[in-house]
């Protein structure tokens, strides 16, 4: 869910930039370090970024009939970790603003925070905890990506509510209002994206499971166990 250009007044859009930029800088630092170790990472990350863009331009079958599309950031977080996802999301969001007129430039900071930082962090945490706890792999992926979507939408509502607090009831009242209105499209979307991402992983494991081992998403033993279960 993108906040449109010009929707956030000052000082809020500057504030979200101020929060997002350190995370991006940390991501760049981390990326530089990873690049020293594995040179072949950059082309792979690039196609992953392009993949996120294309994924987010696929229209999902939507229940409410509105135009809804997966964000793909939850999946990126599971594959590459939250710091790298933040950078990929920033570039993808910039392209979405310039190619498709989704989102905007002054609201880029806020959008990067909600879609590129908050969502991926939640997805990553849930995925790690779920795998530690020995939950079913596909169920964990579903939970992680669905919750990433929900986190993204709640943070977006919060960003809007902070900028436009209600006269009676303040930030909380207007947060409830924004969250309630966006819930109509976002909740079914989150479940859809969770289901689709789980199916994507199922397909990838069936055809090219070694990619996931290479990325440290699952261990060799874990992969074999899942493959045995499905075949």
């Amino acid at each position: 869910m993108h906040i449109m250009e010009g929707f956030l007044p000052g000082p809020w859009w500057q504030l979200w930039f101020a929060i997002s930029i350190p995370v991006i800088l940390y991501g760049i630092h981390k990326l530089n370090r990873m690049m020293e170790e594995k040179r072949d990472l950059l082309p792979l990350l690039a196609v992953a970024g392009a993949y996120i863009f294309v994924l987010s331009s696929l229209k999902l079958p939507s229940v409410t009939g509105s135009c809804s599309h997966p964000t793909g950031t939850g999946m990126a977080a599971i594959l590459f970790g939250p710091a790298i996802s933040a950078i990929l999301s920033m570039i993808v969001l910039l392209y979405q603003a310039l190619f498709l007129a989704h989102g905007g430039l002054t609201t880029l900071g806020a959008n990067v925070f909600s879609m590129g930082i908050a969502g991926p962090v939640i997805a990553y945490l849930i995925y790690k905890i779920g795998m530690k706890a020995g939950l079913n792999f596909y169920f964990t992926v579903f939970l992680a990506t669905a919750m990433a979507d929900i986190a993204t939408y709640l943070v977006t509502s919060l960003e809007l509510a902070l900028a436009f607090p209600a006269q009676s009831g303040g930030v909380i009242a207007s947060f409830e209002a924004f969250a309630a209105i966006f819930a109509l499209t976002q909740l079914p979307l989150a479940i859809m994206e969770g289901a689709i991402t789980a199916l994507i992983f199922k397909y990838v494991i069936k055809v090219k499971g070694d990619v996931l081992v290479k990325l440290d998403v699952i261990g060799e033993a874990g992969l074999r166990k899942i493959q045995e279960l499905t075949t």
Binding site: H2, M4, E5, G6, F7, L8, P9, G10, W13, I28, L31, M35, D40, L42, P43, L44, L45, A46, V47, A48, G49, A50, Y51, F53, V54, L55, S57, L58, L60, P61, P70, L88, I91, Y95, A97, L98, F99, L100, A101, H102, G104, L105, T106, F164, A166, Q167, A173, S174, I181, F182, M192, A195, I196, I200, K202, Y203, V204, V207, K208, V211
Partner: protein
């Protein structure tokens, strides 16, 4: 598959105008539009930008009107909430829904109009930039403004692969549709997942091939690009300064309300 604004930018008559000039026009529009406290300045910016996009950049009017409907949905939804919840001052209108008394105050109305105006001015500036400046031109701007090399490299490669993958996705989707892959919700879910999964594997293989290809051509972490110099012409300079001066004048004269 999508209306890519970049396609229009590549054939735009303003493509070879100076990048910094275009960026200044857009940046000033964005900043003054978003910090205005009366709807006059944003509306003026929106008007100028649409004029420039349609007359100078020769974007088809029909396509432009289609674009405008994009931000409308989001802006309308947000503004309705502001309309009802931001309201104080005297009541203008009120409705009762399910026991809730929803009132529109005059402040809420002013705020909603202002936010709509700001969104439109911002979106129109963005449209102008997107429809006249292709990404390839912006890369050279990024390079001169000292953005870290990794980011530029990554952006350029992502840019290239977006088009490759979009083509693959479009042909897979076409094949699926022909075979009734999207006939109901369940099968379209399955088809979408299959499409996305295949796309992931395809893009992974592409990435490996790309690495090999780049490495065998002595890739050392830097792509060199050609940055042509586009001088600013006198009429462009005149129109831009006229636009900037009138925005600043309007901004100063209409910003009487306290900042919100």
């Amino acid at each position: 598959m999508n209306n890519m604004l970049d396609d229009y930018a590549l054939i735009s008559p303003l493509r070879h105008s100076n990048n910094w000039l275009k960026l200044t026009v857009v940046a000033v529009g964005l900043l003054f539009g978003v910090s205005a406290t009366s709807p006059v300045t944003p509306l003026f910016i929106a008007l100028c930008m649409s004029f420039a996009t349609i007359i100078f950049a020769k974007v088809p009017v029909k396509f432009y009107l289609q674009l405008i409907t994009l931000p409308l949905g989001f802006a309308a939804m947000g503004s309705i909430i502001i309309l009802f919840f931001f309201g104080s001052g005297h009541e203008i209108a009120a409705v009762d829904i399910a026991g809730y008394h929803l009132a529109i105050g005059n402040q809420g109305l002013e705020m909603a109009v202002l936010v709509m105006a700001r969104t439109f001015s911002g979106m129109f500036c963005l449209f102008f930039l997107a429809l006249t400046t292709p990404m390839v031109e912006l890369f050279s701007v990024l390079k001169t403004s000292r953005v870290p090399d990794v980011i530029i490299e990554l952006s350029m490669l992502i840019y290239r692969y977006i088009f490759v993958l979009l083509e693959v996705a479009a042909s897979i989707k076409f094949a699926q549709t022909v075979r009734l892959g999207y006939k109901d919700i369940l099968s379209s879910l399955r088809s979408t997942a299959m499409l996305a999964g295949t796309l992931f594997i395809r893009s992974w293989e592409q990435g490996e091939k790309l690495y090999l290809a780049m490495n065998s051509r002595c890739y050392d972490g830097k792509l060199v690009m050609f940055c042509p110099k586009n001088p600013i012409s006198i009429p462009e300079l005149l129109i831009t300064s006229l636009y900037l001066v009138s925005i600043i004048a309007l901004f100063i004269t209409t910003n009487h309300m306290p900042a919100i």
